[in-house]
Symmetry: C2
Subunit: 158 residues, 2 copies
DNA sequence: ATAACTGCAAAGGCTTTGCATGGAT
DNA sequence: ATCCATGCAAAGCCTTTGCAGTTAT
C-alpha cells in the first residue's frame, strides 16, 4: 500500500542563490510565454537555447523560483502543474478540452472568505478560484463541444 | 520526452452495469464517510469488509460511479484525487497542512461567470472554487501554523 | 455465449531525488 | 575549500491498463 505524506514540505531554499545561465534562461522563457506552460513545455523551450539542459534542472529551478516569489506554480486540478511567470495573484481560466490556460480578466475577490467566518472549524487562509471553459480553438471543434456538454456537470462548480 | 495528451478522455461507461458486491461496498463506504477520502484511504476502508478487493477495482469503480453521477471525483490542486459520496455541487475547504477536506458552508456562486462575459475569448462553462486553511487539529499545531504563514502567499488566491 | 467485472501485476505519466561532476566565491 | 548547481538516470508516487479467470444474464 502506498501511504504518502500529505503534508506539504516547506520548499527548501539554499542559503544563497546563483543566477546561473540555466536559471536565467528558464525564468526568461517563462516570462516571455504567457501560456502558462507545463514543465516539459518549458523544457522544450529552454532546450532551444540550452540544448544540454535537463528536465530535472527545469523542475528544480521552477521550485526554487517559486520559493523566491519570482514565479508561481499553478497546481491544476487533476493534471500537470503549470507555471506562471507573473508572481502576483490572479485567477485563471482553463480549457477543459486541451488544457490551455489564460489569465482570467477579473479582480481577486478579497472578501470571499468573510462568508465562512463563524461557520467553519477551519482557520481560513485563502481560496483558489479557477474558471473552466473552452478556448477559442476548441470552441470551434465539434468534438470538443460535445465533450464539454457531457463534462459540464462533472467539471463545473466543484 | 514525455508528451501526455492533455485532452481529457470521455469517461467510458459500459452499456450495462452490475451492482456487484465490490461496487456496492465502495459506494456505501464512501457515502458513510464525509471526510472525502483518497482512493487508497477508501481502499483500506473497503478492505475491512472485502479483504481481497484490489486497489485497481477501487479506482475502476470510482471512475464508473462518477460517470454515473453517483459520486464526485474531486481533482485537488496538486495532490491525490479525493472522492465525495455526495453528487450535488458544493465547495470544499482543504487543510493545506494535512490535506483534510470538508464541505464549505457556502452556497454556489451562480453568477460568478457573468463577470467574464465579453472580456474573455473562452466559452465559459463554470468555475471551481476551493477554500484553503488549517483544520482544527493543524490549527493547534505550531509547526503547521508556521508552515501556513510561509505558505500563505503561495497558496492563497491562485 | 456474451459481456461486465474482478484480482493481480505491470506499465504509465509526472515529479523528485541520488550521485558524481562542475563552477563560483 | 566550500557550497550551490547541473546532467543523468533511477526511483517514487498515484493512477491506469492488460490479461486471464469469474460471474451474472
Amino acid at each position: 500500500m502506498q501511504t504518502r505524506n500529505t503534508t506539504q514540505p516547506e520548499p527548501e531554499r539554499p542559503a544563497k542563490f546563483r543566477m546561473t545561465r540555466q536559471r536565467r534562461v528558464i525564468l526568461e522563457e517563462l516570462r516571455r510565454e504567457n501560456a502558462h506552460p507545463t514543465a516539459d513545455m518549458l523544457y522544450e523551450m529552454v532546450r532551444l537555447r540550452l540544448p544540454h539542459v535537463s528536465l530535472g534542472t527545469v523542475y528544480r529551478n521552477l521550485e526554487i523560483l517559486t520559493a523566491l516569489g519570482e514565479i508561481q506554480t499553478l497546481e491544476i486540478s487533476g493534471s500537470q502543474k503549470r507555471y506562471d511567470g507573473i508572481p502576483h495573484k490572479h485567477y485563471h481560466i482553463r480549457c477543459i478540452h486541451c488544457g490551455r490556460m489564460d489569465d482570467a480578466p477579473i479582480a481577486p475577490l478579497n472578501r470571499l472568505e468573510d462568508t465562512l467566518y463563524g461557520s467553519t472549524v477551519y482557520t481560513i487562509i485563502g481560496h483558489r478560484l479557477e474558471f473552466l471553459g473552452l478556448c477559442p480553438e476548441c470552441s470551434r471543434n465539434d468534438e470538443a463541444r460535445r465533450f464539454a456538454e457531457t463534462a459540464l456537470p462533472a467539471e463545473a462548480t466543484l
